[in-house]
Amino acid sequence: MNRRHAPLLATALLGLLSISRPSLAQPAAEPTLSATTDSREAATAPASAVLDQSDALTAPKSPAVAAAVVATRSAPDPAIDSTEPAPGTARKERPVPHLIATEIGLRMTYIVHEGFDPYAEKNGYGQVSLAGAYTFWQGTPISVAAGAEWNFGVARAEARGDATALTIHRLAASLQVRYAPVRRLSMFAKLAPAALHIRGDIEDIELSQTLEARTWTWALDATGGAALLLGSAGRDDRPSASFWFSVELGYSFAGEVEMMYRPDSDEDEVRHFGDVRLPNIRPSGFLNRFAFGVSF
């Protein structure tokens, strides 16, 4: 760890300190990106009935038990989501949780390895992130999901007067554990092993050649984050889609690879080329990712 990691550490600390603690007095949280079929049974209770917070935490499994706890709502105020229900108001019923989630966002890795220097003037490396997840176990408020990600990004710079580019495709499978203490907020921890396809390009205009290096390596992301519910479409108890904004922080471990460059020659090329070696690169570092997602 060195001083170059300080900004990211400060970011993580600031974010974690600003997250409010979940309160047991809050009404039941709306479902997060994860959902299970078990909870659908609980959701078949009368529309006017809502679950008491304690019941919500124990996640009743049978409609009979859920129906036994009934409260009448006289004047619901959709603007209120307080720690204590207003006098005369009824609690909201937990919506039907969603099983499938998709996301699109931006992932940024802070790569301090010296092998990254030829391709970027700063240490940040941005990638477009596409992800999908399926919740295969739904508890309340904890759920577990499996997912897949594809991240793609290009870093460009000049090295010794030649234009360079570093393209990394990251294909990852993820295992995510979620905790939803309140309706609008879900926190998660994720492990995502990945395969990285790394491609480097060096364009030497005067020599009229573009050098390429292609290689593969492994990666493992360990992250944690939070997702904020922005809104839902459809009924309150059975939204057809929910819209989320998520942020995650963590660290990406990766293997170190050689970067050996030579011109990309086709079958008709009769010239023989040797390799020019640039510094090895290890694309690991602190990462942050934010994304907009839809669950349904």
């Binding site: 209120i80 240490n123 997702a227 934010f290």
Partner: protein, 554 residues
């Protein structure tokens, strides 16, 4: 009623406020994470070297086992030894900041790189001036580093690879400078308090401009080597066996007009005699030659002088401004030969008596080279000299024996098509050959000293350069900004032309790691390209090209 309503309203308001706060809290948390994470994206800096383009000050040199590229912007020397399959195995050696000069030793076994360091030095981390010695074999490695006290740019290397001299060149521009301060480095010893050894020449207003390292001379007090320093108005002698001793300065200028030395030649005399060594100094635009006899220190002055010898100057008139000097052996003994093209003669002067005699040449010649070792001496061990000129298309062989009435045996001219601007020596086993280059860069002659034949070799492009291979078997010819290179077999004189992919800046014939030989052609485009060919059987089918080599190999 109104009180209850007010109370309910207040409760509802506070409840809404708490609800709003609760709703905002996670939003703020997530948003702050996103915003601050974005801020860190632009942090960090990379090593400066990547932002520095390949500069025009890249220096190219050939060593015995590798081609060398001094990359000042990256503060390194990049060496390229060659494997059996013609692939390169680059080695990067740091040289320090402020590259000043680089030279190879005559045997190409070492590369010496001089750096000025950081100027000015403000922090403890700033580098000082230094000199790096890099081994030039097939596994290059830095063998020595010497720390210098001052950032100087002048560098002169001993032909015997024993010493190096660092001195202030014209490009050094310190606020205050002593132009006569030299730094002598013994390359056979590691750095220490006495190595490098700074010394300041006593001067009469001049500054050093040329250095000559002599062979071992039989001098009073023992055999030793001398460093002859030519300034713009005097000559200084340093005893290399005891460099800490003060130098001996020979003042050449006595009157208002400064006499500028423009070349020296040295003779050891008879090996078994220790008081007949001499140094001849040619002067600019002057018909006189200063001959320094290195005699014993006069009796009675030994205690006052730190040296066991003393140079005694004699002025020898040669009849015209000489363009070249050499000590030669004739049937009559040692003579100082001075070429005087204005009179078309070679003046032979007895250094002991100062008496001279002229050899009529019939044409103006400007340069002389003793070729006795190649062609063999005359009956009495006299020398044979080769003369050539850059203004007339003639060369001549002069046998310096004595025949009746003449101080020479013969002058054998050889007429060429073009004047000669340079004579290149060919290493053994073809040391009997010389390659003569004409000023136009198109006409070359392979001169056979034994058969006295001159074979013309023509190039289609002006500015063509020729480089004999270190093994003496061939010569390489190429033209700047042309992509063609030719192998000239020096046995058969058959040229083999090869067209490479890019224009060539220089070529180096080096020893491969398996003992074979390779040619490395350097292309001065972009981040530099290299083409590697088999030197004995060059072919594009086996050639390997390397693109943008200076971007990598850190």
């Amino acid at each position: 009623m109104s009180a209850a309503r007010t109370r309910d309203a207040m409760l509802a308001t506070s409840t809404r406020f708490r609800a709003l706060r609760t709703a905002l809290a996670p939003s703020l948390a997530v948003t702050s994470l996103a915003v601050t994470s974005l801020a860190t994206f632009g942090c960090g800096v990379r090593e400066e070297v990547w932002s520095r383009p390949v500069g025009a000050s890249v220096a190219l040199m050939g060593l015995r086992g590798a081609a060398a590229i001094v990359d000042p912007e990256a503060e390194r020397a990049l060496l390229f030894p060659v494997e059996r399959d013609l692939t390169l195995a680059p080695v990067s050696i740091p040289i320090g900041r402020g590259f000043a000069a680089a030279k190879t030793t005559r045997d190409r076994e070492q590369l010496i790189v001089l750096s000025r360091g950081d100027v000015p030095r403000r922090t403890a981390g700033d580098q000082g001036p230094s000199m790096v010695v890099i081994g030039g074999g097939t596994s290059p490695v830095a063998t020595a580093r010497y720390t210098l006290s001052d950032p100087l740019s002048g560098l002169s290397i001993d032909p015997a690879s024993t010493f190096a001299v660092v001195y202030p060149s014209a490009s050094d521009s310190s606020f205050v400078q002593n132009p006569n301060e030299l730094v002598l480095i013994d390359l056979t010893k590691p750095g220490g308090p006495e190595n490098p050894l700074p010394t300041s020449l006593r001067s009469f207003g001049g500054r050093p401009k040329s250095f000559t390292f002599t062979e071992p001379l039989s001098l009073p007090g023992g055999s030793r080597r001398l460093l002859v320093v030519e300034t713009d108005r005097d000559v200084a002698l340093l005893d290399l066996s005891e460099p800490a001793k003060p130098e001996i300065t020979v003042k050449l200028t006595g009157g208002p007009q400064a006499l500028e030395p423009v070349g020296v030649t040295v003779s050891d005399g008879e090996p078994e005699v220790d008081d007949d060594a001499r140094i001849a100094v040619r002067l600019k635009d002057d018909p006189n030659v200063i001959v320094l006899d290195l005699l014993p220190t006069p009796a009675g002055e030994e205690s006052a002088s730190p040296h066991s010898f003393r140079p005694t100057p004699n002025i020898v008139y040669v009849g015209g401004t000489p363009t070249d000097l050499a000590f030669v052996r004739t049937d009559g003994g040692l003579r100082l030969a001075a070429l005087v093209p204005s009179r078309g003669v070679l003046t032979l002067v007895d250094p002991a008596t100062g008496i001279g005699s002229d050899v009529e040449l019939g044409a103006p010649y400007e340069r002389i080279s003793i070729v006795t070792d190649v062609v063999g001496g005359t009956t009495n061990g006299s020398d044979v000299a080769l003369l050539w000129s850059g203004s007339s298309a003639n060369i001549a062989f002069v046998q310096l024996g004595v025949t009746v009435g003449k101080p020479y045996k013969s002058v054998e001219p050889l007429e060429l098509a073009q004047p000669v601007s340079a004579v290149l020596d060919v290493p053994a086993p073809n040391s009997h050959l010389k390659i003569l280059a004409a000023p136009d860069g198109r006409s070359f002659v392979v001169l056979n000293l034994l058969s006295r034949t001159a074979a013309p070799i023509l190039a289609s492009e002006g500015g063509t350069r020729v480089t004999p291979a270190p093994d003496g078997a061939r010569a390489w010819m190429f033209a700047l900004s042309s992509s063609s290179v030719a192998l000239l077999d020096l046995e058969s004189l058959h040229p083999k032309n090869i067209v490479l992919s890019y224009p060539i800046q220089d070529v180096f014939d080096v020893e491969r790691r398996d003992g074979g030989r390779a040619l490395i052609a350097v292309h001065p485009l972009g981040a530099l390209g290299l083409t590697v060919l088999d030197a004995k059987s060059p072919s594009l089918e086996t050639a390997i090209e390397y693109i943008a080599v200076l971007v990598g190999e850190f």
